[in-house]
């Protein structure tokens, strides 16, 4: 059996928890020592984490990589279901295994000079690494971030360090503009004239941003979340309907050309 180069292979890596801290209500930041994946992961890709080796719950959980720091992966996660509740209990020194890096991440087309990153809630999770890579490539970054309230605006550190401009909106007005992030996007598309939009967040919001970008004739990429079993393209649990037919979020995504997505408004958000 000939194996492809490590950079193209999916790896199964034993990892160690270096930190696992509460960031805000219901959100944790997990830091894993994962040298092999950290070396090759690209912005927008994810890892499939085996949280439990018992039989209480058996499936892995997919998490996007927020940042990479040397051989460490930073994962921002929301505590929503059985798996993430168990993840929140992990302590420094505990080991798990993960599969990664998985999926197609964000694409940075040649000639991009100004990018608008739109993050709703935990949609900030897959965008930290993207902001860093864009900024390092000399691309001007504007971030539009929305959350229910000020302390739920997660990932602020990396955005403040890399973006030329960060605009925020909160439902309760505790920081930035009161209301939805989509209102910020409407005005930033005009005032900042980005030549690409990257969006991740609740699907109703991502759908509106997709339409806003299309109306402004700006290309847009979206990172989508789906319930997933295998994470490597076999089980067909995570299908996304696109203009080109059904695609698998795990291998064809999670990042898609936003205009190609056929939105399903009945989709129930996953509870990992």
């Amino acid at each position: 059996m000939t194996l492809p180069a490590e950079t193209e292979r999916k790896l199964l890596e034993r990892v160690t928890v270096l930190a696992n801290d509460r960031v805000t209500e219901g959100v944790g930041l997990l830091v894993l020592e994962s040298p092999r994946v950290a070396r090759v992961v690209r912005p927008g890709q994810f890892v499939h984490l085996r949280i439990s080796t018992g039989t209480d719950f058996v499936l892995r959980r997919p998490f996007s990589i927020h940042r990479v720091e040397e051989d460490r992966l930073h994962i921002l996660y929301q505590v929503l279901g059985t798996g993430t509740r168990a993840l929140a209990e992990k302590r420094r020194g505990e080991e798990m295994d993960l599969i990664g890096p998985l999926g197609h991440g964000w694409h940075i087309p040649d000639g991009v000079a100004h990018a608008l990153l739109v993050a709703g809630g935990l949609g900030a999770a897959p965008m930290g690494m993207l902001a860093e890579e864009l900024s390092a490539a000399g691309v001007a970054v504007t971030v539009a971030q929305g959350a229910p309230c000020a302390d739920r605006l997660v990932g602020r550190g990396v955005f403040d360090a890399t973006a030329r401009r960060v605009e925020t909106a909160t439902d309760d007005g505790s920081e930035g503009q009161r209301g939805f992030v989509t209102a910020l996007v409407e005005s930033l598309l005009v005032s900042d004239r980005p030549d690409i939009v990257y969006v991740c967040g609740p699907e109703p919001m991502a759908r509106i941003v997709t339409a806003q970008a299309a109306a402004a004739s700006v290309p847009c990429q979206v990172s989508l979340e789906r319930l997933m079993a295998c994470g490597i393209g076999a089980c067909l649990s995570c299908v996304v309907t696109t203009r080109d037919g059904q695609r698998r979020a795990c291998v064809d995504g999670p990042v898609f050309d936003a205009e190609s997505v056929v939105w399903d408004t009945s989709e129930i958000p996953p509870k990992h």
Binding site: V58, I232, C235, V239
Partner: protein, 310 residues
């Protein structure tokens, strides 16, 4: 493996005309056509690859969500999404043919005519070693499980497919029946070379926040460790009722689970949901089975088949 530490274990088993290098297969629908697992599994070390279900025409499958995790298992309602037999033969089969592993194609249909058409199409493919006829999928509205829950229609499908294929014919049985042994006897009588069981158990889960079913299709098939005792019981019943080999599956996560199925009467076993949990699970079952035999002083793995004491 260090053979000086013990006896050499003959791992070979026979299913119809097919000799497998060991009893460990993949369960249909959990392994695609194998390529997705190539980073984790040396396919040439598997007993056989059983492919995702293939129908005559492309099937889109069901709406999402298609899975829901439940205690010690999962529900799925994928709905046999597949690109159709022609695309399978053009894209998946040539790659599988290079992998030095027996290929068993899972055959699906909405109608008796569709099962026959797929089997006929595959009969000319030399890379296909055997067919597994899926009369037990709980996730399609027409065909699928409907054929596998009635003795007459199970016999009809088996007879019709038998008439058009010279390949080893395995019929995959549903657990969603009153008496699985009746169905097993009916397909044996029509020329099935083996039966495989169990397919998933029909189940349901409801979201208590939204009051909606967790699956878009409301119901789906339960798999994983939760169903293993039901599967072992059914394998045990069927193995005593028929004289053809039984391929046992349902919640096998490790070699000890596989041993349990063999003791109950299985000649071979299939690993399903475990592939999602640990993509290299099949390799660990192969190695573990051999090690188990060595520790128990068994010189052939087939000695375990049906050896449970009463």
């Amino acid at each position: 493996m260090d053979s000086s530490k013990g006896i050499n274990v003959d791992m070979r088993v026979r299913i119809g005309a097919l000799e497998l290098r060991n009893p460990v297969m993949t369960a249909s629908g959990t392994f695609a056509s194998g390529k997705e697992y190539a980073d984790f599994v040396d396919l040439s070390r598997l007993g056989a690859v059983v492919t995702k279900g293939v129908s005559m025409k492309p099937w889109a499958g069901n709406a999402s969500p298609r899975i829901a995790e439940t205690a010690s298992g999962m529900l799925n309602s994928i709905g046999l999404q597949n690109p159709g037999v022609e695309a399978f033969c053009a894209k998946d089969l040539p790659w599988l043919a290079t992998q030095d592993v027996p290929v068993i194609v899972n055959v699906s249909g909405h109608s008796l005519a569709e099962y026959v058409a797929v089997a006929e199409r595959l009969d000319s493919e030399s890379a296909v070693d055997a067919l597994e006829v899926n009369i037990s999928c709980p996730n399609v509205d027409e065909g699928g499980m409907a054929f596998g829950t009635d003795c007459t229609s199970a016999a009809d499908v088996t007879r019709a497919v038998r008439a058009v294929t010279s390949k080893t014919l395995i019929v995959k049985l549903s657990p969603n029946v009153t008496d699985v042994t009746e169905i097993a006897r009916a397909v044996e009588a029509e020329g099935a070379d083996a039966v495989s069981l169990i397919n998933t158990l029909l189940g349901m889960a409801i979201d208590t926040d939204t009051w909606k079913p967790k699956l878009a299709r409301s119901v789906g098939g339960l798999s994983g460790p939760a169903i293993k005792p039901v599967a072992v019981r059914m394998v045990w019943q069927v193995a005593s009722a028929v004289s053809i080999p039984v391929v046992g599956m349902g919640g096998i996560m490790n070699a000890e689970d596989a041993v349990e199925f063999m003791l109950a009467g299985a000649t071979a076993v299939a690993v399903g949901t475990a592939n999602f949990v640990d993509p290299g699970a099949t390799m660990r079952v192969v190695d573990g089975l051999e090690q188990y035999c060595r520790l128990r002083g068994l010189d052939r793995v087939s000695a375990m088949t049906g050896a449970v004491s009463r």
